[in-house]
């Protein structure tokens, strides 16, 4: 019997490691094979990119070889999956075909800055490593002026990161003595600064306190590279000296190429995480179409549920684990303080006052994450 996981990000890696732990004996007896397919041989701790752009973490701190992270009971296939055939239970990798008994789709999401004309010419982002490395240089040489932090579409990964980068920019400019000669403008597509109303209120208050301006109902359609302006669907133009964008996101190309959906998000049952209409296939992490955050914590909690249920089915036990929308996000409100939110399908987030302890928990977790990736924490 074969359990195949497509995707070597947080969701895929954790699921593979949890399964290897739960099915240790079956793997040893060669009754079960756990295979992870990924076109990347390293796991990137994406929350670390927020720190990398301010030079608080380096590349070596946020990248690890998958071979080191994966349990020895997991077979790693370093190849790109070209097509997932849910009907025939097969994955195509170039000329090769792999069949599976259970499938976990963990193909994640990707930014598509090319969908906003002009953005790749003059805009910046920190939602992938290359972009974050370029932005690190831009921030370091910034001498004052107008910074626009613009969320150019939802859903996007890590919903709170645009807020955090804005808070940290404020601090960074202050530390460098250029906050007074700079403006920070934060833009968001809907009529408030964050999806959830309760979070939006707290963030708006902190923005006001820090002198950060906001623009809402702001949906960029183009970036004028010459005039250095963002143009919106609502007819506005916003000039910038430095544009930090959160580009539009899409699901993985393999989902679109496989005809599973048009935008790359996999239709997923919100409780069992099964791909709709397929009893032996699951989707977790950013790739689902669920109304939950595209965040590492969500991938982590979903991986626990899927690994528990697959392992139970294999062992002939009742697969009773359910995902209930659980998510947890730290929110860095400065270089010294943070808060956090816990929420699920039925529970709205509540805050603790931003404080130093939560900030240091986050800094510690940036190191401890590698234990999570191994399936230990």
């Amino acid at each position: 019997m074969n359990v195949t996981i497509v995707g070597g990000g947080v969701a895929g890696t954790l699921t593979a490691n949890y399964l290897a732990t739960r099915l240790r004996d079956e793997v040893r007896r060669k009754e079960i094979e756990i295979t992870l397919i990924s076109d990347r041989d390293k796991l990137l701790y994406e929350p670390g990119l927020l720190y990398l752009i301010f030079n608080r973490l380096e590349e070596k701190d946020i990248l690890r070889d998958l071979k080191i992270l994966l349990d020895p009971g997991v077979k790693f296939v370093f190849k790109r999956a070209d097509k997932i055939d849910l009907e025939n239970r097969e994955i195509r990798l170039g000329d090769e075909k792999l069949s599976y008994d259970y499938l976990v789709i963990a193909t994640g999401s990707r930014i598509v800055p090319e969908e906003i004309p002009g953005l790749t010419k003059t805009g910046h982002w920190f939602y992938n490593l290359d972009g974050a490395v370029r932005l690190r240089d831009e921030i370091a040489k910034f001498k004052g002026g107008k910074i626009v932090v613009s969320v150019m579409g939802v859903p996007h990964k890590c919903p709170v990161a645009p807020i955090e980068v804005t808070f940290l920019l404020h601090d960074f400019l202050k530390i460098h003595g250029i906050r007074k000669s700079s403006e920070i403008i934060y833009t968001y597509p809907i009529n408030r600064v964050f999806l959830m109303e309760s979070v939006s209120e707290l963030v708006q208050n902190l923005f006001t306190e820090k002198g950060i301006e906001t623009r809402t109902f702001f949906n960029p359609i183009e970036v004028d590279a010459e005039k250095r302006e963002v143009l919106t669907l609502e007819g506005e133009r916003e000039r910038f000296d430095l544009l930090i964008s959160i580009p539009p996101h899409k699901g993985s190309k393999v989902i679109i190429d496989s005809g599973i959906s048009d935008d790359g998000w996999v239709p997923t049952d919100r409780y069992t995480l099964k791909v709709k209409g397929h009893d032996n296939a699951f989707a977790i992490g950013d790739t689902t179409d669920l109304p939950v955050s595209k965040a590492g914590s969500v991938a982590h909690f979903q991986a626990e549920v899927v690994a528990e249920n697959i392992s139970a089915e294999i062992k002939g036990l009742p697969p009773t684990a359910r995902y209930f929308g659980k998510a947890m996000c730290f929110i860095e409100t400065s270089f010294n303080e943070a808060t956090y939110i816990w929420f699920d399908y039925e529970t709205q987030p509540k805050f603790v006052k931003p404080n130093k302890f939560t900030h240091w928990m986050k800094i510690a977790y940036n190191r401890m994450f590698w234990l999570t990736a191994r399936g230990v924490l």
């Binding site: 939802v154 597509p189 809907i190 669907l233 609502e234 109304p291």
Partner: protein, 73 residues
Amino acid sequence: MVVIDARGSYCPGPLMELIKTIKKVPLGEKIELLSSDASSAKDVPEWVKRAGHELVEIKKEEDYWRIVVKKTK
């Protein structure tokens, strides 16, 4: 008329679906948005006004809202 059935999707899903669609359709095209999220009844007209399009109709059906918008610019 283009129909977006966003029932079952939560705020701001329906509004974002409308925004995505309005970018693609030709001038003068009408879009019918179906949403079961009550906040759409407030957020969508507010955005339509801000973006300068026309709100043709907003009607509460049994368990969802039907909102018709015309692209005017």
